[in-house]
Symmetry: C2
Subunit: 459 residues, 2 copies
């Protein structure tokens, strides 16, 4: 494995620029990007100036180069334009999304018209859909060519294409009729007409609005290296390649994990994020959860009389409501993931509910038995005195646990369905969200059970 | 997009087997696998019998075919052996991991010795490391060949290789000296010696023990289509391809989401999992969390005197401890993800702590202000009577929130570091785990603040 050679790079920076350029030229673009990420934008811009043009392009084409928009700030428009023009379409769009409005206005006029056109096409779409992550540099050939002609063409234009492993065959109206792979192409006789290569099936395609998760699912399911994005007329607008999909999957997972933790997705590395932007991303959900959780204070208010009569009941409140939250959190994360994998769809809610009901009862019973044992054991061993009615206290805790855990499992498993039905991301059904939902109900269940069991004794 | 053609398939099943075979032969292997997944193993085995051999192999080679091990149960060893032998090495290993010991013993003797050898190599490794997900069918050529020889060889053996897009060049001792891509190969003159193609760098390689996350990271970082797995002597044992990595990433995310929900990873689709195995996976963590949470009952026991003197304090217990849990859950999910992306390493713990301390104070202050406002508002509007000392109660709640949220953010962000340091998966630092940790401390903070503020009045 290659390590980032930061010390070496800094050493070289102090030395001969030509020597530095030579060393960097031999490194892989992702490693040069890594090294430049460690430098200030000014220093990185200075390094860029001495590097050969094709190395610069490959480095700026690498999404690993996190600070590239800051580095572009330091480069004049005339130097920047040819670099941007030589970048691949999806990376141009990525770069422009990172630039400020002012920067965009500074750089746009220097770009040639074809780059401006491709950029305006891609920037129409969100980076969460196929249209926003596609690249316009794909290899396409007319349907009347043969294998040898196609190979010769690829050898000539290959450098300018994002990939030549998928070759798109067009009819005279430039509509997609067939897709072959370079693998299939090199395995046939050179005279073979390209339309006869491979199995003729309706090609797997997406629309510009297909979500990046769905693109990822198609690429993963059919083991594709790229999938074409078609307009309504069947013309290829661009392709989404497997490496874009991997990047999209990594971002998607990051967002999901952050949402599951009960906050907005950060969109930036944790360490790079400013203090106030981070507080903003976290405070929103935290306040919403806090306002929801305030209902527990209201609920507790209703039971203040019971608590003052039987303070022993208060001792188990955190234990009981947290068990509901925990079982809910398990159920919700199971369903969120099953939904993401399409193992479970909206209409399966009833099947899920009828699985979670017995699961909740079983899990609640297990916790109930442990809870009862704990109370009776502490009483018997004299570690704590739960009063004359300790058996009733134990029974109340045990029964409440069954109720609360069952409710938690059901509520936790149903919440993602409700969110998706309402058009929200099911991953927003975070553990804290579920816990807040379950806490109020948990209190009501607990005090209701207590009232039934202890009426005439403690209450 | 292709839909699973289940009704059509069932209709065809009743009809002519030859017609069925023809229809299925035209479908993509992943779609045939989808269709077979809907059938009972017996019915699927019956369909397999009438399908052409090469279609059968491609379907069994597809990890989308979930029930393949059950279908193999229904096929006699002599029919099964050629299918298994023709499957790719990684899928053979996957299949054998799913088979029972008895089934393995039934099928193994019928396999040829090269398949048995490759299987025993791959099964030595866990499917969580490169050695367990690699395939042994890669394209390698001697270093003294030229481009034309290599292309001719690939055209001949391409069908039997997992991929021919990466070509591994070996010296006379069969050690890896260079890697070229098919793209580079088709773009050079046919007389070019293959060692002169592309940039000569130390190839990116992994060992059989490299974790699948690290393999995924390398493939994603360097936009590779495959990465070679080398033994200690520098010989290529196999390659891990990008589609294996995508599958591994999906599995990894599933495990992480389930762990974050506070449970063991399921290893099976939610809907396919048996009731008791699911209870087992969920009960373990639920009981562990319950036992931890029991400490809240102990802590509450210490404050029973305070609660009976000031029942009003009990009303805010769920609100306060849940706020600590929520802020902890946010912090822990941020750090888990930053660790998974290598944005944060073990030695960054101090930088993280010094970010989380002010964040926690700020977030706690926001919630504290809301909490104080809520109590004073309800009191002023006459919606609830918090007694004579309601200002002190409000102050206690506000100060406790600052303390609890700060502690939650710090504890939540440090837990993944502690877990990783102890050799556990940081993703086990689930929201429920953090909440349990924070709840006991939250109670202690709350009652300590109350004691300081209310001594001489309510307490």
């Amino acid at each position: 494995m290659i390590e980032t050679s930061r010390p070496e790079l800094l050493y070289l920076l102090a030395g001969d620029p030509a020597e530095l350029a030579e060393t960097l030229s031999e490194m892989r673009p992702a490693d040069v990007a890594d090294a430049l990420n460690q430098l200030s934008p000014e220093a990185a811009a200075a390094v860029i100036k001495v590097l050969p043009f094709d190395v610069v392009v490959r480095v700026f084409d690498d999404p690993e180069f996190e600070h590239r928009h800051e580095v572009f700030d330091k480069i004049d428009a005339d130097t920047a334009a040819p670099i941007i023009e030589a970048m691949s379409g999806d990376q141009q769009a990525d770069l422009f999304r990172e630039l400020t409005e002012t920067e965009q206005q500074r750089l746009l006029p220097s770009l040639d018209s074809s780059t401006r056109q491709s950029l305006s096409l891609l920037l129409k779409y969100s980076p969460k859909v196929a249209g926003g992550i596609m690249t316009t540099e794909f290899a396409s050939v007319p349907a009347n060519w043969n294998a040898a002609q196609t190979l010769a063409y690829l050898a000539q234009v290959g450098d300018a294409k994002e990939t030549i492993y998928a070759i798109y065959i067009m009819d005279e109206q430039r509509r997609l009729v067939h897709v072959i792979s370079l693998r299939e192409l090199v395995m046939v006789d050179s005279e073979t007409p390209i339309v006869d290569i491979g199995v003729r099936r309706t090609p797997i395609t997406v629309t510009p609005q297909t979500s990046r998760e769905d693109v990822a699912r198609l690429i993963s399911k059919y083991d594709l290296l790229a999938v074409p994005v078609l307009d309504e007329g069947g013309h290829v607008l661009g392709i989404v390649t497997v490496d874009d999909v991997i990047d999209a999957m990594v971002r998607e997972t990051t967002e999901d994990v952050q949402k599951l933790g009960g906050m907005e997705a950060l969109d930036e590395p944790y360490m790079d994020m400013g203090f106030f932007s981070m507080i903003k991303k976290r405070a929103g959900w935290l306040c919403a959860l806090f306002l929801g959780e305030m209902l527990t204070a209201t609920a507790m208010g209703y039971f203040e009389g019971e608590i003052s009569k039987a303070v022993v009941l208060a001792l188990f409140i955190p234990l009981i409501i947290s068990s509901g939250g925990n079982s809910g959190s398990q159920a919700t994360s199971l369903i969120i993931r099953a939904m993401a994998l399409r193992e479970v769809t909206l209409r399966d809610w009833w099947r899920v509910a009828s699985r979670e009901l017995p699961s909740g009862i079983a899990l609640g019973a297990i916790l109930g038995v442990i809870g009862i044992t704990r109370i009776l054991l502490w009483q018997t061993l004299g570690w704590y005195d739960y009063g004359v009615y300790h058996v009733l206290v134990a029974l109340t805790v045990g029964c409440a646990l069954v109720g609360v855990v069952t409710f938690g499992s059901l509520a936790g498993s149903m919440l993602p369905f409700v969110l998706r039905r309402l058009g929200f991301d099911p991953a927003s059904a975070s553990a804290p969200f579920v816990a807040t939902l379950v806490d109020v109900t948990g209190l009501v269940i607990y005090f209701t059970v207590a009232f039934v069991i202890m009426r005439g004794t403690l209450l």
